[in-house]
């Protein structure tokens, strides 16, 4: 009898390990494979490049999405927040305004997007999918109207501010500035979610909103704040994007939407409760960024790169969720 129980326990532990280690294992295996296949991949310069250019921007957007999904929502307007921030900041700088004013106004623009989301979802009770989809459409039109149909604004030939370049290409204590900014954002979101009453309210609102409401938790305020925070994080990503390429190209932020959603859900696999979490999201974003870099360096055709990314996501989620289902059956 006890032998049967021990075997069942071992099986449970194995399944739990499969569930939680699917994403980190995939990451580790790919790291080793790419390092073996491409000498360039394992150079410190390339790993730093992945972190700065392939990881930081989508990670900031995905952090916002982590907050939103933790609260039981979805934010399709993440790209809009990023783009509006970049558009305002770059337009002001192109007109000769100072760096701080331009960046502040850009963040205020992102904040406005978050406030609209919050108003529609918490105030009017519109479903997050529809509300943020509407904001996405309106945001696209606003950008096209503001840029005479969608003309990019380049600061390439008359770059007005060394400070903006420092934001993207500067370093402090030999660590690139974008990584400091991301580090601060990660710390803030992790502390908010794990160490504060607000974080508990977010998780409670996401897990069982009715119960949270009946328990007297400020569910509407919490959800509204989550969309505002998400928009601010995306606004920071938009400013970094503009600083990196010294330009604002309308609708660029939309490129981060699907990766952010994918990273958050891949990240849920490392959580015991299959919930969004900061570490999991960061692993998911890094997995995508590393895949794009590694496959390009080993010489894969772009279209096969896309297939590989899709298959990897399927693989990780299939391993994790199949094991989880087996656990539940037991």
């Amino acid at each position: 009898m006890s032998r049967t129980m021990a075997a069942a326990r071992r099986r449970d532990l194995t399944l739990a390990a499969i569930v939680r280690w699917a994403t980190p294992s995939a990451l580790l295996v790919l790291l080793v494979l790419f390092a073996a296949a491409s000498p360039t991949f394992r150079t410190p310069g390339n790993l730093l490049h992945i972190l700065v250019n392939n990881f930081t921007l989508p990670a900031l957007v995905a952090l916002g999405m982590t907050l939103v999904v933790s609260a039981g929502g979805i934010d399709l307007s993440v790209g809009t927040s990023a783009d509006i921030a970049a558009m305002i900041a770059v337009t002001l700088m192109a007109a000769g305004h100072g760096l701080l004013l331009s960046l502040g106004a850009g963040l205020a623009g992102a904040l406005a997007v978050g406030l609209v989301d919050a108003l529609l979802i918490s105030g009017l009770g519109i479903s997050p999918f529809l509300a943020t989809l509407g904001v996405l459409f309106v945001g696209e039109s606003v950008q096209q109207l503001a840029t005479n149909g969608g003309t990019p604004i380049y600061l390439v030939s008359n770059f007005p501010s060394a400070g903006l370049a420092g934001l993207a290409h500067g370093a402090l204590l030999a660590v690139p500035a974008p990584l400091w900014i991301l580090g601060a954002a990660v710390f803030l979101v992790e502390v908010l979610l794990r160490r504060t009453a607000f974080g508990r309210h977010v998780r409670a609102s996401g897990a069982a909103p009715q119960v949270a409401r009946y328990s007297g938790l400020p569910v509407r305020r919490t959800i509204g704040l989550v969309y505002i925070l998400s928009a601010l994080l995306c606004g920071i990503a938009g400013l970094l994007l503009a600083a990196t390429v010294k330009s604002y190209v309308p609708l660029s932020g939309n490129a981060f939407l699907l990766d952010a959603i994918g990273a958050v859900f891949v990240g849920t696999t490392i959580s015991r409760e299959a919930k969004p979490n900061v570490l999991g999201t960061l692993l998911g974003v890094f997995l995508f960024g590393m895949l794009h870099n590694g496959l390009l360096l080993i010489g894969w055709n772009f279209y096969w790169q896309q297939v590989a990314v899709g298959l990897l996501v399927f693989g990780v989620l299939a391993a994790s969720f199949s094991a989880r289902r087996l656990q539940a059956r037991d």
Partner: protein
Amino acid sequence: MASNFSYWLLGLTLAASLGAAERAQADDVPSLKGRRIGITVVGTEHYWDLRAYQGQIDEVKRLGGVAIALDAGRNDSRQISQIQTLIAQKPDAIVEQLGNGPVLQPWLKKIRGAGIPLFTVDTISPSSINDTTSDNYGIGEKLALQLASDIHGRGNILVFNGFYSVPVCAIRYDELKLVLKAFPDIHIIQPELRDVIPNTVQNAYSQVTDMLQKYPNKGQIAAVWSAWDVPQVGATQAIIAAHRPEVRTYGVDGSPDVVKMVADPTSPAAAVAAQQPYLIGKTAIDNVARYLAGNHDLPPYTFVPSILVNKENAKTAGSQLGQS
């Protein structure tokens, strides 16, 4: 000195011929009063798209017609839906600008099937009465020859080839390959890179940085080529950030900021084939007006001149192109 003089002469000749072509077109264009002209464009988020689109709308208005202008927001299925809407409205003519060739062809055929005259801008189609475009064969050839000449006929080049399904990009790419047959020491690094929409600039920046990491030594990459100039902006900045100024960049379209980049002697942006998108759009509408006035003998293609902007002529080319 002789070289400078010949560039000036070439510039003056081009300017004169462009001006003459524009005046000739403006003088004899029939009115579009009472006519409704449908305009469908795949997107307007790029300088070229927007200027060609504006050129069409402005010219329809100038000639007294009404423009029914629809922008598909770089979405093929939305453009097809908008074409269906236009067919249902039965305008006097439809002008289609750019878009995904294989996807569009059956729908362009349906426009003709509905008895509506079809004109295209930068889209080659057997259904089109007239396609107004730059000479993309010439553009592709001249840009490739400039690249080959600049790198002295040898070296490895990175190529962005993400939009081969867009006919004009395919022509430019094919011309590059044709020219490179004559330069066996120039090799395209495999895999080719893929330019994307949206986030074209940052994506190009990231991919070129990847490749500069892979080929870290001077001389391993000689140039970066793209079929339009937005990836060129990202590529140029990646090269600057990586401190690899020996790598040159080449593109097509000639947005004002890219022309300025080429004019900067320290910039890796070496050349851009600058088109005249506003004039292309205007010329397409002039052809529509002539056709509707009874001239059914239009040529299948109207080529609007372009200028290859390089380090030597960049400072004067901006004014020739009407850029401030």
